[in-house]
Amino acid sequence: MRILIADDDRLVRTLLADVLTGLGHEVVAAADGAEAVELSQREHPDAVVLDFLMPRLSGVDALARMRQGGRRVPAVLLTAISGPSVRDATGPDAPDVILEKPFDAKAVARALERALRAP
């Protein structure tokens, strides 16, 4: 599967790419929200893993743009702040799964699976 990842922290991008490639996925990476939207329009990923607070465009705003026109985009939102605060803040553009940082490889795999299974 093709997965789009977006995080302004290079370390997180590398880690995510390693984990997802290890799971047999193809990975495209963006360093901020605006770049993530551009990449998603070009690469049509099967799922996205987005950081919440990124420069230029937050993960939630980026996701809202990717889902414009009713497109189904399975999404995991990464966040350094606590999940409940984020869930309250995201409203109708809610991602399928919210994953709190720091996370490990297993947590990423589980979160992605749940996002793909979500209706």
Binding site: L53, P55, R56, A80, I81, S82, S85
Partner: protein, 313 residues
């Protein structure tokens, strides 16, 4: 530290009840001293715990208040220390993100404004170039008048908006010449009476041309009134002294200097020393004395600068 006082009061109140129960039981058991010591120890422990907790709670909030005030003052990008993982930590983390994003958007806006200003100046220069094309003898004149007007304005301590008006006004002061027949502009012999009155319409024509342009509103007086005289003998409105807008008085002086030092159909360029003498005679008759003096100061600085550059070469 109102929050700290509240937490302290709450903790003491919560500790007082078990301390009281414990004290009563020990007193009834016949150990009044131990009862007092235990109750005091319980309250002291509660107070210490509450103080530490309150400090951990209030400290980061004080940092956040300072940060918010800095942002309100336009110091975008200000970061506060992260107090660790809690809702307050989340608030500090989000605050820092907001601050960085504001700084980025602010820089982006500043860049857009600069681009817009550059675009405007280019458009104004383009318009000024249209006059140059019509009247080849004045080629470069508008640009030089604009530059000199800005320098005089700076010498007089004018603010940024006025300097901008001087730049646009200097570039466009003769824009009304678009409405004057070329035959008149290129004439080498003295103009006849009717020709003079046609020529003298150019400041009013110029003002009419730019009247609807909001961005040139401040430059408008410089265009309409740059042929007014300090003694009231100018045109088109016969304004006098301080009744003539300052930007117009400045462009008038810069225009006079440039007209005398460059060659025209009706006269060759004059030597700077001679022009300075002419300007002296025009001081208080045509030219505002304060503007005249500022112009001389600018010319003096220019000459010294030029000598310095030659000396260095």
């Amino acid at each position: 530290m109102r929050l700290a006082r509240k937490v302290l009061a709450l903790a003491l109140l919560a500790a007082a009840v078990p301390a009281f129960v414990l004290g009563v039981q020990l007193a009834l058991a016949g150990a009044p001293l131990r009862a007092l010591a235990s109750a005091t120890a319980a309250l002291a422990f509660a107070a210490l715990l509450a103080a530490a907790f309150a400090r951990g709670l209030a400290g980061p909030l004080v940092d956040l208040v300072r940060g918010a005030l800095d942002i309100a003052r336009g110091r975008f990008g200000r970061q506060v220390p992260l107090p660790g993982r809690s809702e307050i930590g989340d608030l500090a983390y989000t605050f820092n993100y907001m601050s960085r994003e504001l700084a980025r958007q602010d820089a982006e806006n500043a860049r857009l404004i600069r681009a817009l200003e550059r675009g405007t100046l280019e458009t104004v220069r383009c318009l000024a170039g249209a006059i140059d094309a019509k009247d080849p003898y004045t080629r470069g004149h508008n640009g030089r008048v604009a530059a000199l007007s800005v320098e005089i304005g700076r010498e007089l301590g004018c603010d940024g908006a006025t300097l901008q008006a001087l730049e646009y006004g200097g570039l466009l002061h003769d824009v009304g010449k678009i409405g004057v027949p070329e035959a008149l502009l290129r004439k080498t012999v003295p103009l006849t009476g009717p020709e003079i009155s046609v020529m003298r319409q150019h400041p009013a024509i110029g003002a009419d041309i730019v009247r609807e342009v909001e961005l040139l509103r401040d430059a408008l007086p410089a265009i309409r009134s740059h042929h007014e005289r300090w003694d009231g003998g100018g045109y088109p409105d016969g304004l006098m002294g301080a009744g003539i807008p300052l930007v117009a008085r400045i462009v008038n002086a810069a225009d006079t200097w440039d007209a005398c030092t460059s060659s025209r159909p009706y006269q060759p360029a004059l030597e700077p020393d001679e022009v300075v003498r002419i300007l002296g005679r025009l001081r208080s008759t045509q030219i505002d004395p304060a503007v005249h003096d500022a112009l001389l100061a600018v010319l003096h600085r220019r000459t010294n600068g030029a000598v310095g550059e030659r000396g260095a070469a």
